[in-house]
Symmetry: C2
Subunit: 336 residues, 2 copies
């Protein structure tokens, strides 16, 4: 077995990369939610001076990476590789958001698992001696996602109770081979899990089995139990998916009740913000981590966090062709 | 600088991963072209028993990976990570093609540069001690690509002379930490290059500057000159893009005339197959490499190959919003 591999799916880093800095930009609705004070920038509207939602999303990516590099006075030339991807067809908010940066770019598609996929691959290249400075980034936008995956907003379509609200926002993390900050100690790479779920308005249920598979495998590979972590956090399962994850993990012998949460349940106020089953989208885990969680790691409120981002691998075309919604989840273990 | 980094964009592997095996599946048109005898499987029609082109493309991915693993009697459990991506929205031919494999999956989006992106990242994880066996895969399908990016085939739309023909096919490579086979010695990761080109029927022109940027940087980073290689091969620039690449490289002081070609110019017969400016799509470089080039490396006709896959980062939405077509190119140096 490869020297840094633990069990089937987990990499244990010998020189754990540092998360040196993060930056987050969110839309107005996220800026009215419970995590508002942790975000670096809250937009006043969903357009930010652009003519289309797609251009806005690309601008959010551009400015979010700029903010992160600006935090540390790091220039584009200092970055070895940039990992990014998003939900738009052909991941265009990433590519158009970074087109002027002149940084070697590795495009990802992991749907809403992309942010952790980027952190995991970035950590691998640093630990492997191939990079010193890595940017991991992702984005989503409520309006561009609704338009592409569901219905035009102008239709005013009703949303079922199991539906989730795509977060408008972007999160960027700067990973370094040395310095101060929380360390990425492990990465657990997920497999595709297909439970045959076809309801595109219940993504939490479609993705929860993938989260369970990756969390379970992480514990088996590392020999850890859930109480090792101060916080186990999934990406965007929402209230329904969170409950399923709790139950399925319990049935596999792991009790997560005391230290488990989901970014989709944290980023909006369920009582007042009318988001039904919670937040979703690549931006959900990225902004929650880059805003709230990174702050709490710096404050040492949390010292050990298992961050598990979940993605739904499907397109409107596969849904129309009666295919199920595939789930995937990648996790990184982060310690102060 | 990171220990394995050469110059700005190139990684030099200290334990170069082996390309242990490849497999290729192509459609009927590719099976009538000059490289026919090198492909493992040639389909009789564009559907292969499926009801939609998207399902066919996913089946091609599935069977191609199966063929590659079957070559070596390697099981799914032996594979550490699978890297794949494609041109379809949300990369669904990859995810649906591998959903039953139970292999940790890292989804990529590099448009037609995806195959080399996967080989480069796979080589990094092997060289970094995080994996022993990696699968890199990609696909494209003429009919699903035309439907998604241009016009329904049923429209019988006329194609301008600068247009290229998307290859139907998939290529899979199995990378190992040890064994026999050609070695991946270097990877040069490309930046996004935006020359403002907006003609979606001239992808070769849009991508050629990215190929030039990556090839140039590879020579600068490694200190090599083009004559180091028996063959320098770009992915899918076609006849127009190949000519632009030759001229732009010459203007930068590198003469590629004697040992440069493009997969889009090799896979079809220009005189008889009516493909205008040549082949394109993720499958173009993947099937040409996994079929023809890998065979020639085994036969030692070529001993040193620089494989540079080019991608156009755009979507129909960005084109409609008057954005330009961004180019990117990644290269790997392969030696027997």
């Amino acid at each position: 077995m490869a020297q840094k591999k633990l069990g089937k799916q987990t990499v244990a880093f010998s020189n754990p990369p540092i998360i040196s800095s993060t930056y987050s930009i969110v839309g107005p609705k996220e800026g009215e939610g419970p995590l508002a004070k942790y975000f670096n920038l809250i937009l006043e509207d969903e357009f930010w001076g652009e003519k289309t939602w797609e251009k806005t999303e690309a601008k959010i990516v551009k400015e979010c990476i700029g903010g992160c590099l600006g935090n540390e006075k790091v220039s584009n030339d200092d970055i070895d590789f940039l990992f990014s991807g998003d939900l738009l067809n052909q991941c265009v908010s990433s590519s158009f958001g970074i087109r002027e940066r002149n940084i070697p770019y590795l495009g990802l598609f992991g749907a809403c698992s992309t942010f952790v996929e980027g952190m995991a691959l970035g950590a691998m290249t640093i630990d492997g001696g191939m990079a010193d400075n890595i940017v991991a980034s992702t984005s989503s936008h409520f309006c561009s996602a609704e338009k592409q995956f569901r219905f035009p907003l102008e239709l005013g379509n009703q949303r079922p109770p199991s539906s989730q609200w795509t977060v408008t926002g972007s999160g960027t993390a700067l990973l370094k081979s040395s310095g101060t900050g929380p360390k990425i100690t492990h990465a657990t790479i997920g497999k595709i899990i297909d439970m045959g779920i076809k309801d595109a308005n219940n993504m939490g249920a479609a993705m929860a089995p993938a989260a369970v598979d990756t969390l379970y495998q992480h514990f088996i590979d590392t020999g850890r139990t859930p109480d090792y972590y101060d916080l186990i956090l999934t990406g965007d399962l929402g209230f329904i998916g969170k409950q399923i994850t709790l139950e399925l993990m319990m049935s596999r012998g792991f009790d997560l009740k005391s230290n488990y949460n989901d970014c989709g349940c944290l980023i909006f106020d369920r009582e007042t913000q009318d988001v039904h089953s919670g937040g979703s989208g690549c931006g959900c885990v990225a902004t929650t981590f880059c805003g709230y969680i990174f702050n709490q790691l710096q404050e040492k409120t949390f010292r050990k966090v298992l961050l598990c981002a979940t993605g739904a691998l499907m397109s409107p075309t596969t849904a129309q062709q009666n295919e199920s919604i595939l789930g995937i989840a990648h996790a990184v273990s982060i310690e102060v």
